[in-house]
Symmetry: C2
Subunit: 384 residues, 2 copies
């Protein structure tokens, strides 16, 4: 097992009606920026619950954070924060809104050009405190310091990290996810699955807790994910998926193990270039990576077959193939396609994917840093 640091200071309030717990974590002196997206929270009752919880507090609203939050939009929010002396950011929405708020919280306290944070990976040394009401289980952003910001004009989607932007609190009410469009539910399940996968599907280091926990997350997503397509208001299934998605990326699964993150590195470029949803890009890339890296990931592919798929045979080749096949089938069952051709995409932009990886200084990917750009090209072709 590798050495590690593990630290998630976020307080989670989980369950039906927990939005009312927001005031536990605020002070009457706070000047709050209430940030949300396109307004779906006004249709599903979340907005009303939040406003009710904030009735004794000072807040200003900032709406319009897009999926894959845009630097330009976020920068407008930064101006509001500065002008209004905001000292607390409340993100209400999915991973995109929260990621956007992490950027806002960092940029608002940065004296230089906010683009430095994006491109020069300027270290974040201060950030405003953040709380969140999550409405889409997917990114795990509610319990980590990761965030992703996009710039449409340059077709960039950039990953950032700071310990300082881990939310102070996260409200997770599974019942607010009843009304999610099926596509968002499905993308979220795929995203959580692949987060788990990136931390699990590498090589064994005899780290039993993260392995067993990851297998528990896989089982949960594969059992309850498909249920949501037929029973969108099944509370327990919604709750299990929501808590699984949080566990998938609060770093408990990466305690002491190697990590991959190839599919995310490639996936971000695909979203930026093709406009595919994040979950869609992962469902395309993961199967191709498994085929391409079958030898390197062999032992874990077999372990997945035995422990998650309950494979009882002795044929390790069949076991590894079974894992690849069942994961593809699971994505398809969730309604998320697993090939470029399903979206009418051919190989014409593949060189641009590689060029963007170079531009973003990603020469070598994977847990062994052995996936070079030639290998990425092979993976892209496997996914056609």
């Amino acid at each position: 097992m590798f050495n590690f640091t593990f630290h998630i200071p976020t307080a989670v309030e989980f369950g039906k009606g927990q939005i009312q717990a927001i005031p536990k974590y605020l002070s009457k002196q706070n000047r709050i920026l209430l940030v949300y997206g396109s307004g779906s929270i006004k249709k599903n009752g979340v907005y009303d619950q939040v406003i009710h919880a904030l009735q004794d507090y000072f807040y200003i609203e900032f709406a319009g954070i897009e999926p894959n939050p845009e630097f330009e939009t976020l920068n407008r929010a930064v101006q509001v924060v500065k002008r209004e002396n905001i000292d607390f950011i409340l993100a209400v929405g999915g991973g995109s809104v929260l990621d956007g708020c992490k950027f806002i919280a960092s940029a608002a306290t940065y004296s230089g050009d906010a683009l430095d944070i994006l491109y020069k990976k300027q270290e974040i040394i201060r950030a405003l405190p953040i709380g969140t009401v999550m409405t889409i289980p997917a990114t795990g952003s509610e319990m980590n310091g990761n965030f992703v910001v996009s710039r449409r004009e340059t077709k960039d989607k950039l990953s950032l990290y700071s310990d300082l932007v881990k939310p102070k609190f996260a409200i997770l009410d599974p019942s607010v996810t009843y009304s999610l469009p099926q596509k968002q539910t499905a993308n979220g399940v795929v995203d959580a699955f692949v987060h788990t996968f990136e931390q699990y599907m590498t090589y064994p280091v005899d780290a039993k807790i993260p392995d067993r926990f990851a297998e528990g997350v896989f089982c949960t997503l594969m059992e309850d994910g498909p249920k949501l397509l037929d029973e969108p208001e099944n509370y327990d299934a919604r709750a299990n998926i929501m808590w699984a998605a949080t566990m998938a990326l609060n770093k408990i699964l990466s305690t002491g193990v190697p990590q991959d993150w190839t599919s995310h590195a490639i996936g971000h470029e695909l979203t930026a270039l093709y406009g595919l949803d994040h979950g869609q890009t992962l469902a395309i890339i993961v199967p191709a990576i498994m085929h391409h890296q079958k030898q390197a990931k062999r032992e874990k592919l077999i372990q997945f077959a035995q422990r998650v798929l309950d494979y009882r045979g002795n044929d390790v080749n069949i076991a590894a193939e079974l894992t690849i096949q069942k994961i593809c089938a699971f994505f398809e069952l969730m309604g998320v396609k697993t090939r470029f051709s399903d979206y009418g995409i051919d190989d014409s932009l593949f060189p641009e994917v590689i060029r963007k990886l170079s531009e973003h200084r990603q020469p070598l990917l994977g847990e062994h840093e052995s996936i070079d750009h030639q290998a990425v090209m092979e993976i892209l072709y496997l996914a056609l």
Copy 2:
């Protein structure tokens, strides 16, 4: 799934050599009380590493915290804290030292009689910050707000809780546990197992993540616990047991599920009355509870057989019996006995156990609050 709050702000530094990370979490202005037990840390090199890490800091040593830390001893430490204007407590040792420090941290900032905290469960409204270097994986105290304090003169062993005493940081270096006496290793494995058990062996509420994670902890303890008896310097096994013990009681396993804690309630009285180690009391009481509560815990006994013991048959009675039998066998394999008679204890003090439970206001135990004192007596007789 039930609603829950989950919050572990502790930063964990896990792995070989991590004691050197202590200064990350201290300020040069801190006035530190370095607290430890009987001095075993001076034999295994931990003391030297800690002193090295503290070389640029002000600290005073306080040694002599006993297993099942004594109120009188802790109170002497409280006087030192007050006299020396201590503002940070560093606990170096096992769960007893850390539990003692949680009491010290609370009592030192309490203006009334420290006995109020113990007996009147006086709410703790302030506590000094605590850090810890754990040397025995067992209690999970390094990532929770629980602590247990004893008073030999009154034969009391009292459980306390405060959010404020959760450690700021915890150093977990598995290699420092190589030299643990076999009995302490075994007791720790049993303790961690039973913590997991208290949160799992109740009734199903379709909370998939805590169930799967608990099963992962059970598998880890049952696979690697016995290894330690033959290979005390097996790093990965030590690491897996250490991280499993932390997970067993950092409350991640109780997210959304009912909990039992009967064996701990009875076990604490047994330690106070008979002087048995905590792990020894649990290994005696848990099998008896399983027999007594076989109907109430039926579904989870079967689930354990299927998922942890890999039982493939269709006979649910055999499955439930198998679970009870294998858990007993596991405790015995670890060298921890499962009957009062193994320690030469008869039924003469059983009425006193019941009287102490009454005195400590524990009229009804178990996840259904259905285990009354008549039932406790039956459980005690089953354990003879």
